[in-house]
């Protein structure tokens, strides 16, 4: 993808970096290099050495002054080489809850048969350094605090190094387009879990689910049901796999309903629903979700929970 001149010279390209697709190989287009603070002090030292050499008209003084300056210049190649050719991709980053820290997992691979020294990756104020041996790969985990639900777009991740002399800083800003899903923060506003219970006819009425734990009997275990409900005693007695049946489950499915927390603000409603989903999943209940725009049929399990939470995260987004 060629760049136009204005894109090429845009300041953002140097600070924020070009947008990166999933997988990036660092090359001259993405690596920039400038003297660091330590480099400027070295320049001052070289200047002093030059003045001393001029003043005493000292040939060997000139030799070593120029040698130092030339070595400093040459070191830029090695700074560049230390970064270039790295394969960088965002690994799958797990969703997280607002208020927590999102972890950005970065997969870094060296394929050029060179040892890489002291590369640091920074995101916002967080920084991590690593060495990478030839043909090695590593996964870095940078964390970022997230406040709001929805898709979280990580900021520019900057890879930098000041190897070998610490006088030049080579850096490569990367802006990955992959986003991390952020669920609402689970907050219990104290609402009782109002579930809409449906009988087979379909007339709904509300009731509290206090009787959930009442053991009613056994029924043959079906794959997909939570392991918690397996009746281990029966299994141990080699009677076969049965699952416990509780009163609430026997006839009713729980619906976590948007309407049931009507007096809360939108975000709080979502937080409350999120809390319920987590607690239902923990208890192994089968639950459904009903939002104004979408309805998920009752079920349980990891995938179902993720689906429900995703609906909450992206509600009206």
């Amino acid at each position: 993808m060629a760049l136009t001149l204005s894109q090429r010279l845009s300041f953002q390209r140097f600070t924020r970096g070009e947008a990166a697709s999933q997988h990036v190989i660092l090359n001259h287009r993405r690596i920039f290099i400038l003297p660091s603070k330590a480099g400027l002090s070295l320049a001052l030292i070289i200047l002093l050495m030059l003045i001393a050499s001029i003043n005493y008209n000292n040939s060997l003084g000139f030799v070593f002054t120029f040698l130092l300056a030339a070595a400093a210049q040459t070191s830029t190649f090695y700074s560049y080489k230390n970064l270039s050719g790295l394969h960088i991709s965002l690994a799958k980053s797990p969703p997280c809850f607002a208020g927590d820290k999102a972890s950005i997992n970065i997969n870094i691979r060296e394929k050029n048969q060179r040892m890489r020294w002291q590369i640091s990756a920074s995101h916002l104020n967080q920084q991590q350094s690593f060495n990478l041996a030839a043909d090695e790969q590593t996964i870095l985990c940078l964390t970022a605090p997230v406040k709001t639900r929805g898709w979280y777009q990580p900021e520019t991740i900057t890879f930098s190094c000041s190897f070998p002399f610490g006088i030049f800083r080579a850096w490569s800003p990367l802006r990955f387009e992959q986003a991390i899903l952020i669920y609402p923060q689970p907050i219990d506003s104290g609402h009782p879990l109002q579930t809409t219970i449906y009988d087979h006819i379909g007339n709904g009425h509300s009731s509290t689910t206090t009787g959930t734990d009442d053991f009613v009997g056994l029924k043959p275990y079906q794959t997909g049901q939570s392991y918690r409900h397996i009746n281990w005693k029966a299994l141990a007695a080699e009677k076969g796999i049965y699952s416990n049946v509780f009163s609430a489950e026997q006839s009713k499915d729980i619906y976590l309903d948007w309407q049931s927390c009507h007096n809360l603000s939108t975000e709080n409603k979502l937080s409350q629903l999120c809390f319920w989903i987590l607690s239902c999943e923990e208890k192994g209940l089968s639950y459904g979700l009903r939002l104004p725009s979408v309805e998920l049929a009752p079920n349980n399990g990891h995938k179902h929970q993720a689906d429900c939470l995703k609906q909450l995260a992206l509600y009206e987004h």
């Binding site: 001029i54 008209n57 040939s59 060997l60 003084g61 040698l67 190649f77 640091s120 610490g166």
Partner: protein, 649 residues
Amino acid sequence: MNTNTTQLQPSLIKLLLAIAGLLIIPHIGQLNPLFVSLAFALLVWRGLCLYYPKLLPNKWLLLPLAILLGFIVMKTFGMAFGRDASSSLLIILMGLKLLESRSERDAQAVIYMGFFVLITPFLFDQRIELAIYAMLVFFALLFALIINNSQSNSLKNPALLRICGSILLQAIPLMLVFFLLFPRMIGPLWSMPDEQSAVSGLSDQINPGSVSNLALSAETAFRVRFINQAPSQKELYWRGPVFWETDGQRWVLNPPRKKSFQRAVNWPEKTSDYQYTLMMEPHKQFWLYALDSPTSAPDKVSLSADRQLLLNTKLSRNLSFELRSSISRRLMQLNKEDRERGLKIPENTNPKVLELAEKWRSISAEPRNIIRQALQYFNREFYYTLTPPSLGSDPTAEFLFETKRGFCGHFATSFATLMRAAGIPARLIGGYQGGVYNQLGGFYTIRQADAHVWVEVWLAEEGWVRIDPTAAIAPNRIEHSVDASLQRLNGEINFILNPPDGIRQWAQQLNWVLHSIDFYWQNAVLAYGPEKQHEFLAGFGILDWQDMITWLSIISALMIGLSITVFFILQRPKTDPVQQAYLKLCKKLAKKSSTRLPHETSSNYFARIHSYYPEKVHQLNILNRLYLASRYGRVAGEKFIKAAAKLKI
């Protein structure tokens, strides 16, 4: 994992201590021993802290210590901050900074100071050995920088050493360009305090014993390369300062007056003149040496009536001069003032000396005869030695009538006094005689051991004539150089008598090699100052400093551009030949058919284009099989490359 707060690795501290020690070593003997030992003490302190961390000073101790040491330096050198003061201060500061170093940034600062300290010994001495030594220390400093910035906890790291070495090698071309083209300025940016440095060679005073101190020194005074032929060894009189005034004890050099420069005549150039390049070592004096006698003065040097070559300032760096000399004498006029100066004898001259001169004059008034008598007198009773007995308040008489043993200084001073007493104008000439020829480099090295003093007398028909009384006593001295390496204080004087054999011959050849290296070092590197740079660059049409800056920018930009190009060519991923041949084949096939889609395998593509090349189906199948075999099997790729090249469409 923040990098700024990491502790320094002990291995890095050890490396820095070793480097600091190596940086101070060349200063031993140059700087005040107090400061050298203070600097070493600070290093030892830091070294002990590695094993007893409790010894590490805090800043409340370090700050007063730094102020105290700075005060001692100031007290010693005063406010004039020259090379001694700044070198002393730097090595001490380096030690203090090491004591204070805790973080990566401190180490970086210590290394930067190290780079500066590295060039300070050159202000005292620029020998090639020191340059090689400094190059090794420079490498170590670069390596320390790399260790510091890679946070490596071990120094045994071949990968980092390799990087360090290749950076150093790659830096050399750019350094050379800057060395050649960076405009050199004449004179210092600001005047530096006159340093108390040892003057080598002849000084501006001669007493009878002063030259014998030099006979043990193999140090080089200057080097000479003749452009055409060289005169014979015994004609190699290198004429320097001319002494007219004496107080009976010693002969003192008075700078020539302005009139003397106006009276000086440039002799016309002749084909029999000797032309040569003379490379002076900095001897901190105004005068130059030239083969007896120079015909004219080169640029920026003035010629006086008594044919001394004089500089405007004391020579403090290596410089080379193109000179012309003629050994044939020219008749000159002796004016009244010079005659008076050349006849003046101190009032306290011993009557015995005057008596002796009078005796010779009474035998024959002819100056030639008097000179012959005097030389015969020396030849009869005198003995040439490096360790003459010491003389008292009346050295001439004591030498002539009592001790009768002496070196060239004794003979020349007493001879000159005798001539004056006998009414012949005489003056004392300081310089060097002889020189060691280096067959490898084709140049003469004139060493301090060759220092010599002789006399010039005025003869009415001939002008100033060189008379060397030493030659009358020790002809060997004039025909062969003194062998400084074999000289013992109380032994016989050894001369270089050729030809040496066996091991000595090897030693001589090795010596030639070393001296040749040193010659080129002096001539090409150390003497490369404003004049030499101008001369060298003028050959390329680069005349002034603007040109130099322009060319410096152009050439360094080109070099950096070139290295970037080479760098990227080397970085480019290597495509393997089989894949290249395959892509080429696909392109060829695509001419008549459709191009290969990016996701298509070779089998799919070849199958798809069968319809375009119905007569080549068999060949394509073979190609496909070969390609796959080279990719996934053990068949060598050459077969496929050959077959692909053979395919004609």
